[in-house]
Amino acid sequence: MDYQLKFAPVFDNFGHLLSGLLVTLELSFGAMLLGTLVAIVCAAGKTGGPRPVRWIIDVYIEVIRNTPFLIQIFFIFFGLPALGIRFSPNTAALVALTVNVGAYATEIIRAGIESIQKGQVEAGTALGLKPVQIFRYIIVKPALRTVYPALTSQFIYLMLTSSVVSVISATDLAAAGNDIQSQTFASFEVYLVITAMYLVLSIAFSGLFSLVERMAFNYPLSR
């Protein structure tokens, strides 16, 4: 191969990459937080809700899990305006990522809820706590602890998936790459650097998640 890799144009535009990185971080953490909330509500609905609610949640989960994220974001960004729902690219990206991760996280968190022993709920009931309080104070934390590894791998996958939002001209890291490569034509080099940045991000995320795990779930488990 007589091609010389040219990284100079990439690093000349590093500021642009960093602002894209910031958006990627915002989208990832935003969707993680919102998606977890969606998932907790849906998981509670699926375990304790009335039949129509469970049915709606099932449809949501199956639709999201069996269609590509790319189509979901097209649908939200291009399709929903037909119903009068219009988002900016970055908002559409956040909505799409939240809806997407919410479905996967629902199944994960539901498994966590089901791992909680019946006696925990009974003890809460006997103490006079209401079902919502039992869920909030007794079930959520141990349930999240059980499924934390599965949940956080899903979050890392979410962060990687977020690169797709560049297709609706959201301004994330991948989009910054698209901008730079169209100006400099150093396509391979641009994407090589960006790929490396995503790799660093996923390593950083797993480090952060295990730190959070140690801080949030610091109570000992019985043998």
């Binding site: 590509p68 189509i71 649908f75 305006p81 995503y198």
Partner: protein, 218 residues
């Protein structure tokens, strides 16, 4: 010139399902071969091989599929293979699937009780015989459900090939949408088609997983 979203447009989109299926099949076949190599390397006795395979898996599981597609697409060009969406998409998805299937299958190989392996040591079987006739057949039983599950992920993943200009289901939808401007209907139809492809596989995977769980509990 805005076209109506009529029967021809619908047929164009439906016909594109074949390219999604073709790309999925190629990536799955390539990924199966690559995945077997990765899985065997991951459980190999040779330390360097184990680390090499681990690095490969971490690399492909720690970066976006979209970037993998871009790198292969532009990388092939640098290597003089020109701009070729078919080749780039097939190769990138194969490499991607190899990492994921390799990791899934490693788990399955390791789930085979080690006693089986020891028994075959005692029988004096060599590495190849041991893997071929004892470990892999048992691992395969465990592997079916998660493999079908990954196939769903792979089919969805092929949609990203549209971004490098490979005309499959998603790209066909975009083409029709650009001509008809009825995104709600177009992407609704595309979503339904993906759902029709993926949902039965998801159900199958779940059913097999449950059946296997019952079988192992006995």
């Amino acid at each position: 010139m805005i076209r109506p979203f009529g029967i021809d447009e619908i047929l164009f989109i439906v016909a594109a399902v074949q390219w999604t299926l073709a790309l999925s099949a190629i990536a799955f076949a390539g990924g199966a071969i690559g995945g077997l190599v990765v899985a065997l390397a991951r459980v190999s006795q040779v330390r360097a091989l184990r680390y090499l395979a681990l690095g490969y898996v971490r690399l492909f599981q720690g970066t976006p599929l979209l970037m993998q597609l871009f790198l292969v697409y532009f990388g092939l060009n640098i290597f003089g293979a020109g701009i070729n969406p078919w080749l780039a998409a097939s190769l990138a998805l194969t490499l991607h699937a190899s990492a994921f299937l390799g990791e899934i299958w490693r788990g399955c190989i390791e789930a085979v009780p080690s006693g089986q392996s020891e028994a075959s040591w005692a029988l004096g079987l060599g590495y190849v015989d041991r893997m071929k006739s004892i470990v892999l057949p048992q691992a395969a039983k465990i592997a079916v459900a998660p493999t079908v599950g990954f196939l769903v992920q792979l089919i969805k993943g092929t949609s990203l090939a549209s971004i490098i200009g490979f005309v499959e289901l998603t790209r066909a939808g975009q083409i029709i949408n650009n001509a008809t401007f009825v995104p709600f209907k177009v992407f609704g139809l595309v979503a339904i088609l993906y759902f029709v492809l993926c949902w039965p596989l998801s159900l199958l995977a779940r059913w097999m997983e449950r059946r296997f769980a019952v079988a192992t509990r006995r």
